[in-house]
């Protein structure tokens, strides 16, 4: 069972629908028990970094998520969910994240329109393998749907599976051991997004 963590941040149904369509068992949950029982986690997220961390703290889920991930349970962070994996975000202030991955979350420069909204193509990164892992079957001509004003500056470039370019190149898919992050919305990225979610589902089952 894939548990989609509901902490009050946005549209979880689309992720659930997409996983169900692919034939994976998934449910939207918000309790520690359910997180502990699941085989994999999805941390979605739309909205502000500070609010999201506060909500996770209010629900007392921070340590529970960390413990499960550190014990090796696969987790996929989507959009803000991926950003929460990192140590620190500068979104309207300076906020501490989950610290599962090393790096920071910073804002796009104002020379381009912000949010970065729409379909952008994926660029293979150091951790990309077209035959194996989360990037299986993905090509450079493939586009996914992004909506974000902040992006991740990872400390370890080798964790970047796929990047994208919006004035600067930034991580679109990252992976370290059992931790996966997607800056775009795979559940809204048509066939390419479904391929990526399918890859995740197959990696954990």
């Amino acid at each position: 069972m894939i548990s989609i963590i509901d902490y009050g941040a946005g549209n979880l149904k689309s992720v659930n629908h997409a996983l169900n369509k692919l034939g994976f068992e998934a449910e939207i949950i918000s309790s520690k028990e359910k997180i502990n029982q699941s085989t994999a986690l999805i941390l979605p997220g739309v909205g502000a970094f500070e609010d999201a961390m506060n909500q996770l703290r209010d629900l007392d889920l921070v340590d529970c998520i960390k413990d499960n991930v550190q014990a090796g349970k696969p987790i996929l962070g989507i959009c803000l969910g991926m950003q929460l994996f990192y140590e620190k975000s500068y979104e309207n202030g300076e906020w501490e994240g989950l610290g599962l991955l090393e790096g920071e979350v910073v804002r796009f420069g104002d020379q381009l329109k912000v949010p970065h909204m729409g379909w952008n193509n994926l660029i293979p990164g150091p951790n990309f393998d077209a035959q194996n892992g989360i990037g299986t079957g993905i090509e450079q001509k493939d586009y996914t749907y992004f909506v974000h004003s902040y992006y991740v500056k990872p400390k370890n470039r080798e964790e970047v599976v796929l990047g994208s370019d919006y004035g600067i190149e930034f991580p679109a898919v990252v992976q370290k051991n059992n931790i996966y992050g997607m800056q775009f919305h795979p559940e809204k990225s048509s066939e390419v997004g479904m391929t990526l979610l399918k890859n995740f589902g197959e990696l954990i089952t």
Partner: protein, 253 residues
């Protein structure tokens, strides 16, 4: 590189997609969820659903359309029409919409933009602006399907909308809506150059050249159209190929 988006717009009344000209002469087109799926498969980048119903009963039918679309279609979609409060935002977002567009309610009460942006994030707050050009050349904001001139300057309202927290602007030029003589490139460019959020051009699409024009000359980030897609006058694939051949970054499927 970020692609320019092509967005079919579906006006929904009583659970059906309909199309009119200058907000009149309404004809029945198709089932919204079925049409949404077809467009998604053909390579539409996003969809917009406008609720043009009046009664509460029909409103529930519309919410059902939104829910079924979210289940079956895996591209982003915006919902607009009849959004009057933050509670209306919540309802359609909960039903599965990715963005919500607000028009006349924001003119009457600009705070709704700020409240919705604070509550749900700017990324899902779309400010839809209906504009018409006056004889002296000024573009002003209109309400009630183009019947009421607010006197508000279009550019000033767009800038104000961004300041209040809108994450995107849909600019609907009403003189050209449904008449297929081309998008209003000048006002689209004027607004796109003065805001730092995406601008979606709407109203007037008739030929594929119109799309090229507004996405290059007009500096629009996306172009929205209805009848040219509904009636098969322009095929999504042909449009994307044409734009690509003319140097516009587009997502082709």
């Amino acid at each position: 590189m970020l692609a320019k988006r092509i967005i079919p717009c579906l006006d929904v009344r009583n659970g059906r997609v309909v199309k009119g000209q200058k907000f009149q002469n309404i004809v029945d087109v198709d089932d919204p969820v079925k049409l949404a799926k077809v467009y998604s498969e053909m390579g539409a980048d996003e969809l917009v659903f406008y609720d043009i119903t009046a009664s509460n009963e029909e409103r529930n039918i519309f919410i059902d359309v939104v829910e079924r679309t979210a289940e079956q279609v895996h591209i982003p979609f915006t919902v607009g029409g009849g959004i009057r409060s933050v509670e209306d935002f919540r309802k359609v977002l909960k039903a599965g919409a990715d963005k919500v567009s607000v028009n006349s309610a924001a003119v009457k009460n600009p705070q709704i933009i700020q409240e919705a942006a604070r509550k749900f994030g700017s990324q899902c707050v779309v400010l839809s602006i209906d504009v018409k050009q006056k004889e002296d050349g000024q573009w002003t904001v209109f309400l009630n399907g183009g019947r009421m001139d607010t006197g508000k300057d279009a550019l000033e309202w767009a800038i104000e909308g961004e300041r209040l927290g809108a994450g995107e602007i849909v600019l609907n030029a009403m003189d050209t809506d449904g008449v297929k003589t081309g998008f209003s490139t000048d006002i689209t460019k004027g607004i796109s150059e003065h805001v730092n959020i995406p601008v979606v051009a709407s109203g007037g699409a008739g030929k594929i050249e119109h799309f090229l024009d507004v996405l290059t000359e007009g500096k629009a980030d996306a172009a929205l159209a209805a009848s040219v897609f509904h009636f098969g006058e322009i095929e999504m694939k042909d449009l994307k190929d044409y734009l690509y051949e003319n140097g516009v970054e587009v997502r082709r499927v």
